[in-house]
Symmetry: C2
Subunit: 232 residues, 2 copies
Amino acid sequence: MPEQHYPEVRALGLFSGMTDENFFALMRGAYVQNFPPQIELIGEGEPSDFLHVVLSGSVDLFSQWNGRDTSLATVRPISTFILAATIKNAPYLMSARTIEKSRIVLIPSQDVRAIFDVDGNFARAIVTELAQCYRSVIKSQKDLKLRTSLERLANYLLRQQKRAGGGAAFDLDFEKRRLASVLGMTPENLSRAFKGLLPYGVSVEGTRITINDQTDLERFAKPNPLIDDFST
Amino acid sequence: MPEQHYPEVRALGLFSGMTDENFFALMRGAYVQNFPPQIELIGEGEPSDFLHVVLSGSVDLFSQWNGRDTSLATVRPISTFILAATIKNAPYLMSARTIEKSRIVLIPSQDVRAIFDVDGNFARAIVTELAQCYRSVIKSQKDLKLRTSLERLANYLLRQQKRAGGGAAFDLDFEKRRLASVLGMTPENLSRAFKGLLPYGVSVEGTRITINDQTDLERFAKPNPLIDDFST
DNA sequence: TTCACCGCTTGACAAATATCAAGCGTCGAA
DNA sequence: TTCGACGCTTGATATTTGTCAAGCGGTGAA
């Protein structure tokens, strides 16, 4: 892997605490690749040969069953994905495809496991990362099971607003069909859900969202840090 | 904590690889408590003071929001729960209550974190445990988003059948109202879902289930190891 | 033994969500 | 510029799921 990328990877919580020696050992077998949009990087059920790090672009994690499919998460720079499968040396549970043009680091899984076995700091960093991932999925599970689709959309908008800086107007960060899938509904219903939020002061123009009455929307959405705060 | 319980705790994957010294240090601050049924052990949002180990009985993990509530998992002996919150020193995301009379070990979270910081083997064991938990939730997420309630019930029955030994007849391992909540539906709908599986050879008598036509049910349920096999 | 409670079931109905078909608007290639 | 593809929207309709109310049957306490 070209050394120019070392610093960005090294800066990740996952890699920052390990010894130089082990980090370079990991990087020795790694390589960087550029992918065009809509390329399937991995398929669920395949053996987990590589730990992936997204340097730029974005990646959709999705899954299929019996002709249906659903988006489970979106990975943005700079972070890793399929860490759990790599560590357990188990098949991927999700497929991954690039959303846009993306630069991705591929680190051989067996190298990750080998270093994991000898570097306690690396093991501890992995714990922190996995605990974070686990808690995120639990939150998402609660979102799905405790809320209607309208409530999920309202809370998603509030989260996205905060991520975008907190202003009244902001842009959706991916296309509506994918948003619908992430929120567990059909594109048609997402369209209707946006209309359903109109009485609470949400206006939509393409990917541009404006929240005209923050208090009103929050009163409806009832955001809760134990579901919506993905930082804890 | 009484020493008599040491062997059962020590036998857990989580604790089996650590040094005696560290294990005893953990146990020194731990204590065992017996709880009657329906006792709320922890509440979501509370700080994670203890890592819990279920020695006997069973515990329901659930969550509430806006007047609704849902069961997320059931913990059976011998295993731990709320490991992620303990490690991250973050608030619990789920509440826990005993289903039946249960004996539970409480290990102070700060002790767990302290030993985690110095014992690489313990850290590695935690990684394995967390990766397992993470993958289980992802499977459950896929179950929820990709299947109808009828399909979820059918696959649940097949999983439970396997757990019970694989015979055509077996018992549900908890009351139907909780099963309904775990599967993401109302008790009324669970009742109807059982009727909906009658054409596929499923008969119900109280908590006793009989699968009269294994092939037929499996053809309908389409079980998939990437969703239904909780051992990988 | 009797009775109140509780979990489960059932039916009727309402609400939420999905499906199907059509149309609209934008964007990029010919 | 024109055309076609594609994502989004809309309306009509079907399916799924939830809600409410009532009744059934087992269990445990008086």
